[in-house]
Amino acid sequence: MNAENLIALLIAAPLLGAAVLLVGGRRLDGVGHWIGTLLSTTSFVFGVILFADLLGKNPEHRTLMQHLYTWVPVAGFQADVTFRLDQLSMTFVLLITGVGSLIHLYSVGYMEHDERRRRFFGYLNLFLAAMLLLVLADNYLLLYVGWEGVGLASYLLIGFWQHKPSAATAAKKAFIVNRVGDMGLSIAIMLMFATFGTFAFGPVFAHATGASEGKLTAIGLMLLLAACGKSAQVPLQSWLGDAMEGPTPVSALIHAATMVTAGVYLIVRSGAIFNAAPDAQLVVTVVGAVTLLFGAIVGCAKDDIKKALAGSTMSQIGYMILAAGLGPIGYVFAIMHLVTHGFFKAGLFLGAGSVMHGMNDEVDMRKYGGLRTYMPVTFITFGLGYLAIIGFPGLSGFFSKDKIIEAAFAKGGTEGWILGTCALVGAAITAFYMTRVMLMTFFGEKRWQPDEHGHEPHPHESPKVMTIPMIVLAVGSVFAGGFFSIGDRFLHWLEPITGHSEGNSPLSAAAVTGATMVCLIIGVGIAYLQYGRRPVPAVAPRGSLLTRAARRDLLQDDFNHVVLVRGGEHLTRSLVYVDHTLVDGVVNGTAAGFGGLSGRLRKLQNGYARSYAVSMFGGAALLVAATLLMRAV
């Protein structure tokens, strides 16, 4: 059989799982989680088969297409359900299904005591299906379906514990903020249709250069808006922190490894358009740079371990967007960092989850401390993830992040210097806040007290089913980067799709690496001085203005609340009033007017025959007069 036909199965498997688990009802409660895990693994296996098949081909012919059917045929508007599997989407497929399957496995343990575990796995499968659709779609409209599909899945999973109002609110917030991004995507699609008469990848990219730069820039910016929504980039980043209300596996899979990176995919995939629209690219890099600092700063101030990691995610994706914005210089490294980040960030989250698992779902790092002795496996895997993310030499993060910083400088000119510096500073801050997390969680003396029920938490290592995925991911976060970089394997793998160009870096690679190392040491050092040497206060000190701002996501939420939420409420309330008094009032007023007129005219009918006679007489007179008048004129 030829490989194309397998592509649909990649999606079909988890979709089937979702359908079965969600429609199946209670009778599947016993086995639901295993069905889910099995089907996601199946998808992974298909992925591997296809990967092997691709490797068999020579680099130019590594694009498989599968046309299922014509979706929306309307005069001139042709949307097909067609899948495209090339090196780029293949990378994502493996990442999604691989990490996804691991996290399925992990969840089996993590969600063990939740009576709605079956539904949880249903949602997870739904997510996988949507995400695969997103990366496999061959046209933007189909991509849009996956795009919103993952949004829905993340909505369902963030709000999985719906009885918690905070969770429900966070879910709603995530979806709506994403909708703003989606608006960008749909406008981009409309622009494409208006410009090219189609929105299928092939023709659009082929003719991209034919369109006016203005149009292309507009399309690019709209795509960026979409990316900002999905990848939690400034200014649409506010939802990611709250999204941590969801179960930790969800945070690991969706809000660290896969979904949030969809924005990066979109930009890299649309490289042809961005290459022709330098202005758009510039904006992309700016957004990336701002976000990577923003996220990092927020990450420094959070005491909630998951929120700290969320800030870190934001910042890391900032790196990717920055790289993607650099054009052919950065595309490959954006994706490479994305993959390595997928490993170590997922690992970190799973570690955090495992910690919470052992600590009665306590998330405040100030109530942790000295856990390394209680949960060694978690400690080691988490530590490896930590080293990877701060870019400890030899580990994944080192390779991927270093490349991005180089590329940033390689952009050249002042932009290059500015962007590069931002990246370097970001690296330093990353080192700081990750070290902080590490120290507060695993070192120092234990700080946990009995909770209000008087239960003293008994930290313990998590079961195998949870630790195994953590170990696998730790391995990944250690070796992936090296594996990719040695001999530029990854570069050669992706180049046919994204293209690649060495910019002209003002600094040598060695210099950049050195600078990075320095930043790293500074960051770690400060963190050690602040949290390693002195005991961590159980209640957060008031902290500097910046700290307090950072705790509140740099006041961005407050801004939204005041301007958008309050303003919106006032707007709707006043509109309701308008609708009731003005629009309705006009009509009711007319009716009332006729009523009043009627009441007044009615008085003329006073019951006196003589006044009736008067009216007749007057009428007769009028009649005569009018007739005469008509003759006169």
Binding site: A75, Q78, A168, T198
Partner: protein
């Protein structure tokens, strides 16, 4: 002559209505079953029409034509094009669900007089409405259409005013006064619209000398019938006003929230999913065909009004405290999209609009009927009275969520396709309007999810803690609708294939062609 299929599709429910009304007072259940069977039989007939209809064939098919009132130049002329067939099928499809959903809505509370037979009346009226709607979809004679367009109001009026939700917050007395207010409002709005249209209809006769849609359109096309520009515009306005009230278009919309709020959920569905469609359908069939130039002349204003409807309706939906009112305002927003698509005058826009009519029918039915089940359990329409339902009635919550997602036109569900077509169709000709309209999708997400969050999630309110989940009957109502939503979302081709030729025709009626893309990239 062949079997009068179209007449049959309309006559069957009409006869059924009479029969249902005639069922003796004691035999309520019999009346229900009779009505259900009749509606199902009508559905079968509609399917036959669907099968017999050949998308590639003549513009109007299965035509029938008999002299009726020669003095008024009126003929009994029926015929369906793709658009009509689609809506005919939608109507015939929804009615059985409406009947089934309203199974207990009309069981008399107090046994007043022996002769008072609300149940029979309720179902008879529904069937009567179905018959009239169907025939107004089929009529190709302006007068014939007008007659049923108007007559439709009477049964609707009794449905709205006569039957409301049980256990009203302020007691039965207040409920009945509010109901009759809503009913009167509904009737007066539409009656005024209709009467103004009557003036235009008469005017049309004075100008054209007959009422046959085809003849007039033909005469307009080959120039044998010339209309003075001002005349055409006045006539167009007369027609459009009536349809805009029915649709409803801002600022003529205020009757809809009251009507939908006070009537029972099935009737609300009947109003917004079936009856209102006649308005948008008529814009497409009559306004554009009879008065192409005037339509183009009025387009800018209408587009702006449609745009206002979209945003305004959505914003008001966000501000509502009453579930049904919320859905009503959401519908106003959606009708804005439909009208936008019709008057954007692009194939995508108009196909999208037609598709939208069908999809909006199904999605609103799903959402509103589930909402009805919810309300019937708690006896309150106020959002604030609910909370945590998801915990006690997961299936109900799930179906409600899917209905809501369809309303916010989530990709993969039917409404998405149509909404996107409308947006694209508008954008290619009026980019600014297209972009503003896109804000509608954000607001849609807002009001739907806020509704879901407030009613279904959070801690379980004590009043709802004992709420039962969906019963078998209710599932039978909801499940097919949801399946349909998903199917049409994934594979809308069956509908678009029927609709496209008709839209092509309409486009040529108004002498419009789609704008060309900047770069001809499509293969």
């Amino acid at each position: 002559m062949s079997f009068p299929l179209l007449t049959a599709t309309a006559a069957l429910p009409a006869v059924g209505a009479v029969a249902t009304a005639a069922v003796p007072a004691a035999r309520r259940t019999a009346a229900k079953w009779l009505a259900l069977l009749v509606s199902l039989a009508t559905l079968v007939l509609a399917i036959v029409v669907l099968v017999r209809f050949d998308p590639g064939g003549a513009r109007y098919q299965l035509t029938e034509s008999h002299p009726w009132i020669a003095d008024f130049g009126v003929r009994y002329e029926l015929g369906v094009d793709g658009i009509a067939v689609a809506l005919l099928a939608l109507t015939a499809l929804l009615i059985p669900f409406i009947i089934l959903a309203g199974w207990h809505d009309a069981d008399p509370l107090e046994t007043g007089s022996r002769r008072w037979r609300p149940t029979q009346g309720f179902f008879a009226l529904i069937l009567a409405v179905e018959a009239m709607v169907i025939i107004s979809f089929e009529a190709t004679d302006v007068f014939l259409f007008y007659i049923f367009f108007e007559a439709m109001l009477i049964p609707m009026y009794f449905l709205i005013g006569g039957f409301g939700d049980r256990a009203h917050a302020q007691g039965e007395e207040a409920a009945s006064t509010q109901r009759s207010y809503a009913a009167v409002k509904f009737l007066l709005y539409n009656l005024v619209g209709g009467l103004i249209m009557l003036a235009a209809v008469i005017g049309l006769y004075v100008v054209a000398g007959n009422f046959s849609l085809q003849e007039i359109a033909q005469a307009r096309a080959n120039g044998s019938l010339h209309m003075a520009t001002s005349t055409e515009r006045w006539l167009f306005l007369g027609f459009f006003f009536a349809f805009a009230v029915k649709a409803p278009l801002w600022p003529l919309h205020t009757w809809l929230p009251n009507a939908m709020q006070e009537s029972t959920a099935p009737v609300a569905v009947l109003i917004t999913a079936v009856v209102d469609k006649v308005g948008t359908f008529a814009m497409l069939r009559f306004c554009l065909q009879l008065f192409p130039e005037a339509s183009k002349w009025a387009t800018p204003v209408i587009l702006v009004l449609a745009l206002i409807s979209i945003i305004y309706g959505a914003l008001l939906a966000v501000g509502q405290r009453d579930i049904k009112r919320l859905v009503a305002y959401a519908s106003i927003s959606h009708f804005g999209f439909i009208i936008l698509g019709i008057f954007a005058m692009t194939s995508q826009g108009q196909s999208g609009a037609t598709l939208y009519m069908v999809n909006h029918g199904i999605s609103t039915a799903a959402l509103m009927l589930v909402a009805g089940f919810l309300i019937s359990r708690r006896g309150s329409r106020l959002i604030a009275d609910y909370g945590g339902v998801q915990k006690v009635a997961p299936v109900l919550a799930g179906t409600f969520l899917i209905g809501g997602l369809a309303t916010l036109s989530l990709p993969g569900l039917a409404p998405f396709v149509s909404e996107f077509l409308v947006l694209v169709g508008t954008f290619t000709r009026y980019p600014a309007i297209g972009i503003v309209a896109t804000f509608g999708i954000v607001l849609a997400a807002l009001y739907t999810l806020v509704l879901y969050q407030r009613t279904m999630t959070g801690p379980v309110k004590p009043e709802v803690s004992a709420m039962p989940d969906l019963k078998a009957r209710e599932l039978v109502v909801v499940a097919p609708l949801i399946v349909l939503l998903i199917f049409l979302g994934v594979y809308p081709k069956p509908v678009t294939d029927i609709v496209n030729p008709a839209v092509k025709q309409t486009m040529s009626d108004v002498h419009k062609t789609d704008p060309k893309p900047e770069v001809e990239a499509a293969k």
